[in-house]
Amino acid sequence: MSIEETISRRTGSGKNDLSVPPLTEDDLLEMYRTMVLSRTLDERVWLLNRQGKAAIVASAQGHEGAQVGAVKASDPSRDHYLIYYRELCTMMALGVTPTEMLLGFLAKEGEPMSSARQFPLHGSMDRVDIVSFSNVVATQLPHAVGFALADQMRGIDAVTIAYFGDGAASMGDTHESMNFAGIHKLPVVFFCENNRYAISVPLSKQMAIDSVADRAEGYGMPGVTVDGMDPVAVYEAMYLAIANARNGGGPTLVEARVERFYPHTSDDDHTRYRSADDIETMTQRDPIEIMEQLLVSRDLLGEARKEQIWDSATRIVNEATQAAEDAPLPQPTGDNDIYKHLYADSNGN
């Protein structure tokens, strides 16, 4: 069944109400640039970690296509992004700068999400509604549902995207959230980045089924699985899900099948639990290469432009590294007083 059919069957809307605007050449190039920038920055953070400068990194490598496709389908000026730790490319796509990201990884002063109180990618952003309160897996799903409930109640036209992994699908919070969203037909899209592993636990020990999307029916919502290595396929699926949510059609569960190219985090060593074969084959498809092939096939990318894009990314990341390394570590005084922001002040702020 096509994604249009799956969604329209469940929601009762006509299939023809749902159509996906094709991506322009600029869109495609921008997506590619973002993925390249994310990959370059990601590599840099691993380096900084190995140098003892970045305490921890959870890599988005292999997830970039899914992440850039999902953001492209959304509207950053009004939508809410309840991310988890593996969303480096999502952040890039939403316009967070490499310097801002690196301030997070190096826990430096000026870090925008939590003032370096939290792990990288945790806290919230001001410019775009990116939110990730905690490291506890799946807790963001009920939060996302609450965001959507608040919007629905006040008639605010925004969609909330709840990001999570295949491991997170096992948590009780995931079940409770999807159930509530289904009952109230809330404008939320559950976006699962299924990379077949939760740290070391493979999918077969995480669930007795092959596809997280198969759970959607049990919550009265459409569930679709998409090739997460293909940014355009993810864009299309997410566009339909988001459009449907925006039109009052309720939630959708979109599962993007991706690969986690690196170990779980910089503290992990995946050779302990992944077979050589598995490691070898998982990188045979790379979302960046898939995007390159598309661009090449459309005559949008030649070797020169490609080199220029990669070089530009390196330059940007170099500058960002410099800026972040130069930034001071926050000292627990003044604005960074650790006693600040415990409760609202007397003005309620």
Partner: protein, 328 residues
């Protein structure tokens, strides 16, 4: 002034705040058509509609987690947990998440929400309808924990809780719901969170308590005044966190003796912090060791009447502890 029960005061506080502020909503089990198992939201569904009075699925973690998301995104949810004993599945969303929103975003996001729940024993509730879960919340900075004893306090504090821009755990002792009546002003008022209240002035010793135990302590104080001429001062904590150490210490510095009373089992309970704070803060003034009277260190309150009575404190048991302390 009208005379109200605690449950009426709770209902009135929510009704007034929901009438006053469109962004206040209430969600929980059986709160809509049923009006809540204790009727705290009786009639709300008619007055405010199903968008603001939401019967949730039976799933406490999501009740709190969804309320939290809605709070951060602009509403002021009141999440009702049907009995405090059933809040454990939601502990992660309360202690782990709600408490850290403001702190963990360095003030950019915050969660104006109230989690209300009936707690406490002496109602033939057995192991799973009698629990005191207060210290688990009180231990977590970032939460405010309120536990009123009277209709007046319940109403004024619940209104403040709903208006607070940070999460409040609002603990209602279910035995006080219909048992305790008191005067409540007709005009609107609020009471500040974080301020204890001297419920009876006295000169011989200080008794610190909260919730149902305040009433038992007041009864006990009357007993010992009559029988032994002991003049006990009763401090009602009202807010468990942040703890109003100042009011407690002021009283103990005056009386030089302190008894801390707590319905919950003894060890690592609310009374431990109160007693420790007194022992350190009023060291030079104390004429006797700080005494604690509490439930026994057992998993919970048993069901059968005599077993429950053995577990549960009573005015008589408190009176005996007051006499002992006075005699030290």
């Amino acid at each position: 002034m009208a005379t109200k029960t605690v449950i009426e005061a709770v209902r009135d506080a929510m009704h007034e705040e929901m009438s006053r502020d469109q962004n206040v909503l209430i969600m929980g089990e059986d709160i809509a058509e049923r009006g809540g198992v204790f009727l705290a939201t009786d009639g709300f569904i008619d007055d405010f509609g199903s968008a603001r009075v939401i019967d949730t699925p039976l799933a406490e973690s999501s009740i709190v987690g969804i309320a939290l998301g809605a709070a951060v995104n602009g509403l002021r949810p009141i999440a009702e947990i049907e009995f405090a004993d059933f809040v454990w599945p939601a502990m992660n969303q309360i202690v782990g998440e709600a408490s850290k929103v403001r702190y963990g975003t360095a003030g950019k996001k915050y969660a104006p929400m109230v989690v209300r729940m009936p707690y406490g024993g002496g109602v033939r509730g057995g192991l799973y309808h009698s629990q005191s879960i207060d210290v688990v919340f009180a231990h977590q900075p970032g939460l405010q924990v309120v536990a009123p004893a009277t209709p007046y306090d319940a109403k004024g504090l619940l209104k403040s809780a709903i208006r607070s821009n940070d999460p409040v755990i609002f603990l209602e002792h279910k035995r006080t719901y219909r048992l305790v009546r008191g005067e409540v002003p007709d005009q609107e008022y609020t009471l500040p969170i974080g301020v204890a209240d001297v419920k009876r002035e006295g000169s011989d010793l200080t008794v610190v308590a909260y919730g149902l135990m305040v009433h038992y302590c007041l009864e006990a104080a009357n007993m010992v005044a009559e029988s032994d001429g002991i003049d006990a001062e009763i401090v009602d904590l009202r807010t468990l966190s942040p703890l109003d150490r100042e009011t407690i210490l002021k009283s103990v510095r005056k009386t030089s003796k302190a008894l801390v009373v707590q319905e919950d089992s003894l060890s690592y309970g609310i009374g431990a912090e109160v007693a420790a704070s007194i022992a350190t803060g009023a060291f030079e003034d104390l004429d006797a060791p700080v005494a604690r009277l509490a439930g026994p260190d057992l998993p919970e309150m048993p069901f059968s009447p005599a077993l429950e009575a053995e577990y549960m404190l009573s005015p008589e048991k408190i009176a005996a502890a007051i006499r002992d302390l006075a005699a030290y």
